[in-house]
């Protein structure tokens, strides 16, 4: 086969999950010997596309996948591997307690005959592959758990190379690498390309894509925006392609007077996770935080709430220094936190709605710890009406509620608490438009009552329509604070993707 021929063709690929269309009618071609970058905001459909290519998801009927011109269907990941597609995930999937060589041959056991392990053959195969990649300093006998992340990634790639993969998918391969390691990875990728391998490369880092990609396909909201030659476009063009989303659902914030500073953060850091974060939030203000995956926004919020150690910098609440050691202290200082993953840390799924709503209220002092459930149920019913939580009874387990209603239950927890500061992390993730509108109006309600609001959201149009100011973070650093006047999707996205100095 000659270089530059189409090795992979996707025709009209769609994927519908219950209630969500993740991919709509996507066409894409990948040539051998090219690095093809896949670009898009959070939730644009990149992950779904990768999972289809690697056999984890099956596309809806009507779509077609062709490899070297022949139609294929993948029922499972093994089918994809047999069709010589190899995927390298963000979280590496090596066995840490096995050697490099053992890991490399693990998926090729059918090549070896007999019952016994063939240690010397394994080592020879691994050594040759590593040498071809110019990585001979990795000893095939080392245990994977002793390797650095970058070296583990090299082993993953060696695994792909030795299984004669023709298409290698890489999902954010540089997200946890240093600049040096990332540069070396780029060299390895160029080497693969020279050998005729097609690489599908997913990354948020525009400058990285600019340096390595031959062609770039941009997705937005599950739809194909277009495929372009890298040499024909600038970073700015790419940003416009990524964010050109219609502003059809806006949730303008009610005008409320902005008061004094409530929360002030100075030069905050937690180890190497994030550093040098400074901002202040006023009474009645919605302070948005934007950024892409890996911007460590959640980690920063967790530090504000006492869930992560603060290694440098200061937090002031109403002018007084505040050093939260655990969530309890933060709550005592009237800070509330609506976490990103409601199932993981927002709700107790096996308890009924009213017990979840009262999880904070119940902690008020009472005689001998007695809980007056009939009173608490009254509270829960009141919140159910205010927030329009749709349940047949407050005795229903939260487990059985829709995402939007679950999120309202999380909000209801803090209704009687009258917080000074309330932190929202992705408050509308995975919920329908109707519930989104309601949630934003409650957030506005909190602001109107004089609460200072810090809100992380990856939904850029929403963030822009709701927030009074937006701080943009990238890889644990702050990239700037955008005022209402300068708020455009392009501006925020260019801050979120610009090259790290």
């Amino acid at each position: 086969m000659t270089l530059g021929e189409n090795i992979l063709e996707l025709r009209h690929i769609s994927k519908t999950f219950p209630g969500v269309v993740a991919l709509k009618n996507v066409d894409m071609t990948v040539r051998n010997g090219e690095v093809h970058a896949l670009l898009g905001e959070n939730g644009a459909g990149k992950s779904t596309l990768i999972k289809i290519l690697s056999g984890y998801h099956q596309p809806d009927k009507g779509g077609e996948m062709l490899i070297t011109g022949r139609p294929v269907t993948f029922r499972n990941p093994k089918d994809a591997m047999d069709a010589s597609i190899h995927t390298i995930y963000q979280e590496l999937t090596l066995c840490p307690h096995m050697t490099v060589a053992e890991n490399i041959v693990l998926d090729k056991q059918s090549q070896f005959k007999g019952f016994m392990q063939k240690r010397h053959e394994y080592q020879a195969i691994a050594a040759r592959a590593l040498e071809d990649m110019g990585q001979s300093e990795i000893d095939p006998n080392w245990l994977v758990k002793d390797l650095s992340i970058a070296q583990q990634q090299v082993v993953e790639i060696a695994k792909a190379v030795t299984s004669k993969a023709k298409i290698v998918l890489m999902d954010e391969p540089t997200s946890s690498l240093s600049q040096n390691d990332a540069d070396r990875l780029m060299d390895i990728i160029r080497g693969l390309r020279a050998n005729g391998v097609a690489i599908i490369y997913i990354s948020h880092r525009l400058h990285e894509i600019g340096g390595i990609a031959d062609r770039i396909t941009v997705l937005r909201d599950g739809e194909l925006v277009g495929t372009v030659n890298n040499s024909d476009v600038t970073e700015k063009d790419l940003i416009t392609m990524m964010v050109g989303r219609e502003l059809k659902n806006v949730y303008p914030k009610r005008k409320v007077p902005i008061g004094d500073i409530v929360l002030r953060v100075e030069n905050l850091a937690s180890g190497e996770l994030f550093k040098g974060i400074s901002f202040d939030v006023h009474k009645g203000e919605i302070f948005g935080i934007g950024g892409l995956v890996g911007s460590r926004r959640t980690e920063m919020l967790e530090a504000l709430f006492g869930m992560r150690p603060i290694t440098d910098g200061k937090i002031f609440l109403n002018g007084e220094e505040f050093d939260p050691k655990n969530p309890r202290q933060a709550i005592k200082h009237r800070i509330a936190f609506v976490t990103e993953d409601r199932k993981k840390s927002g709700l107790v799924l096996c308890l009924p709605v009213h017990e979840n709503i009262n999880m904070v209220n119940a902690q008020q002092p009472s005689f001998a710890g007695y809980l007056n459930w009939s009173k608490l149920k009254g509270v829960a019913n009141r919140h159910r009406n205010t927030l329009n939580i749709r349940v047949s009874s407050i005795e229903q387990l939260v487990n059985s509620l829709s995402g939007g209603n679950q999120q309202k239950v999380v909000l209801a927890k803090w209704l009687d608490f009258s917080p000074e500061v309330i932190i929202f992390d992705e408050p509308t993730r995975g919920i329908d438009i109707g519930a989104k509108t309601e949630i934003y109006s409650f957030i506005g309600e909190f602001a109107a009552q004089g609460t200072a609001i810090v809100m992380v959201s990856s939904e850029l149009p929403e963030l822009i329509s709701v927030a009074d100011r937006i701080m943009v973070m990238q890889e644990g650093r702050m990239k700037g604070i955008v005022s209402k006047e300068e708020m455009t999707q392009e501006h925020v996205m260019s801050l979120a993707t610009q090259k790290t100095q």
Partner: protein, 325 residues
């Protein structure tokens, strides 16, 4: 057609729910029906009261275990704590060294301390409670054996045996049954109507959510293990009274029997969902099995074989009717 299928599905899930909710009672009633048909003497009130008396110490340890398992933990050391209590009490009152009341207080505080150690080491050392209490299962048993050099110590005050063992109220109701009833009601109140019980259920259901809501997880955990120690102490006192002495080997099955009672009662081993009255039902199932099979002349060997079958049957029943998602 579709609507039909839907109603079928919901009605089936309702029946399934009812079966899960009442499966403990169903199994209990079924067993009692079988035994009373095969051996009419089974239903004799004296026999029924004997069942309750004989299960009392398992039930009390099981009530503490209900809190522990709902919290998402496990306490394997309760039997060893019960042995230390029996031995300790017997030695404190031996030869009039100490009056009974202060001796009782000392063993109670001692048992709570042993429970506290379980909780403290598990929380502060960040060790699985299974491992901590596996270790203390040996350590506490070792204490009981070392104190007595392995020999039983007689308890020779008559009121003690009446109060905790073979005494009967109105010449009818065995005193261990009354003690169990009191502990049962207190447990139920704590579990359902106090902050403490609410915290236990929340932490067991999702520790991360409990933490974000500001609940002091470490304190609650340690308190629960301390309470389990106290309940094990009461079990130990009943065992001591029934046997008229502190036996260092007593209660070696107590932990597993009480865990079985809790599981049979519908408390989830994964935490979060527990039932105090379920534990009563679960312990009754095991006690009825023992008693009924003894009446029928089955030996201990057969009894434990059947006990195992009933446990696996009950758990399979849960899974079969659980609504699949």
């Amino acid at each position: 057609m579709q609507a039909q299928a839907k109603t079928d599905k919901t009605s089936r899930s309702i029946i399934g729910k009812l079966i899960i909710q009442y499966r403990t009672i169903l199994i209990l009633v079924a067993l009692m029906a079988v035994f009373s048909l095969l051996k009419p003497v089974f239903l004799n009130p004296i026999n029924l009261l004997a069942i309750i008396k004989n299960m009392s110490y398992v039930l009390i340890a099981g009530l503490g275990m209900t809190f522990i398992i709902t919290l998402g933990g496990l306490d394997l050391s309760v039997g060893s704590i019960a042995a230390v209590v029996g031995v300790g009490f017997a030695m404190l009152i031996r030869g009039g060294f100490m009056p009974a009341i202060p001796a009782l207080l000392i063993v109670m505080i001692g048992a709570m301390l042993l429970g506290f150690i379980n909780g403290f080491v598990s929380v502060k050392g960040k060790i699985e409670p299974f491992l901590v209490t596996l270790a203390t299962l040996y350590i506490y048993r070792g204490i009981a054996l070392m104190l007595t050099t392995g020999r039983p110590v007689p308890i020779v005050i008559p009121h003690f045996a009446d109060l905790f063992g073979n005494g009967k109220l109105f010449n009818l109701i065995p005193s261990p049954a009354i003690i169990s009833l009191v502990v049962l009601l207190i447990s139920w109140f704590l579990f359902r109507h106090t902050k403490f019980g609410f915290y236990v259920r929340s932490i067991g259901g999702n520790p991360e959510a409990a933490r974000v809501a500001g609940i002091d997880i470490s304190r609650v955990k340690i308190a629960v293990y301390t309470m389990s120690g106290l309940f094990a102490c009461i079990s130990g006192l009943i065992l001591g009274a029934l046997m008229n002495g502190g036996l260092p080997n007593v209660g070696s099955d107590l932990a597993l029997d009480s865990i079985s009672g809790v599981i049979l009662g519908g408390t989830a081993i994964s935490g979060g969902v527990g039932s105090i009255f379920g534990t009563l039902g679960g312990c009754l199932i095991m006690a009825v099995l023992n008693n009924g099979m003894s009446l029928m002349g089955a030996q201990y060997h057969v009894q434990i074989f059947v006990k195992g079958l009933v446990i696996i049957f009950a758990v399979l029943m849960d899974n079969a009717f659980k609504s699949r998602k």
